[in-house]
Amino acid sequence: MKVQEIQDCIAGEAKAQGDPAAEIQNAYTSDLLSDVMGNAPANSVLITVQGHKNTVAVANLVGMPAIILCNGRSVPQDMQESAEQEGIALYTTKFDQFTASYKIAQALGKI
């Protein structure tokens, strides 16, 4: 799927556009940034509740083009700015991580 398809898939709100045409091949669900750093596959979308600037830094370093922030968590200003600057798409959703994960899994054709 493409980054731009994420928003509809999770009934999300876009906070940063990123690269709408970037290809998403996988997803990783975690709130532990070291775990994301060590284990998340490249070109995947990060599903998390960790709403701060460092999440963007990790996504950027690992090569994740998009972040989904779950449970209706709000996006701090500096996180949004950082996402825009690094060209990483950032969405918020009311869904929890489990729901967001299976919605994305369906869209990726994994289930």
């Binding site: 070291s34 775990d35 060590g38 701060h52 460092n54 990790v58 950027n60 690992v62 500096d78």
Partner: protein
Amino acid sequence: MQSIPINTYDSPTAVLELIYKLKVKDVMTKDIHTSKPEATMGQIRTILKDNSITGLPVIENNQILGIVSMEDVLQAIDKGGSNAPVGQYMSKKLIVLEEDMPIFFAISYFGRYSYRRFPVINRANELVGIVTSRDITTKLLVEANHEIERLEKESEAPQDVYTGQVERWFKVQRYDFENAGFASTEIKKILKGRSINSQTARRIAITAYELEMNLVVHSNGGSIHFLMDDSRVLVQADDTGPGIENVEAALTEGYTTATEWIRSLGFGAGMGLPNVQRVSDEFSLTSEPSRGTHAKSIILLPHPEQKQTY
């Protein structure tokens, strides 16, 4: 936090390093005139005039009692007190600096108080010098000059973008989550510029990020040293404390000493150092409690032939 008249947030590191590195004793005047408390104000006037200075400390047994300035002399003369002892007119409200303080303190003191000079004492409370803002300016100019000379030489040295060595130093502050990730992001940019293959670049990014976060979360502050040549990348994190109690445990996945607050931010799960160790080709960790910790990771770069087939 004391305020000083330069922006400490994004000033060039070279300047900041200077004002932290230079100590008051490096800039102060050591050969100073002093007076005994029983000297008269008239005698003081002569000393000040003959030596073109504007004030001097009053001492007894190497201990500083006060400071007498040209203003005090003028006041004494106004009141007809030329023969009065210094002890009567000197200023006893003293603000002193210690010789081992960074000049950062001295600069902030000049901003905070209207005094034009501060006596400097050593650990035994003995007077060892005087520092004026002029002393600081002069020394800073000299040092800044050296530094610029060094930087100019460095930038003249040819730095091929595709081959040769790249070296960077990054300062990392304790609990500075605001700038956390800066060093690793910069390092990633350098790797991109070199078109290192993405697998290797990712391992280096992991190492850099985890070591950087360790400095933010656990150390009293430290530095990341990045050094890359054609065959390998070194990422080294050094701090000055507090040190790791149990190095072996620190390398065990899941072991953590992080606080609840740190963990709520998604860090401190005890995966950092094991992550680094896993992705490094060579890894070493040395630490002494209450001293510093030194973590060193080396990642080998694929040979050029391999790069082409990638």
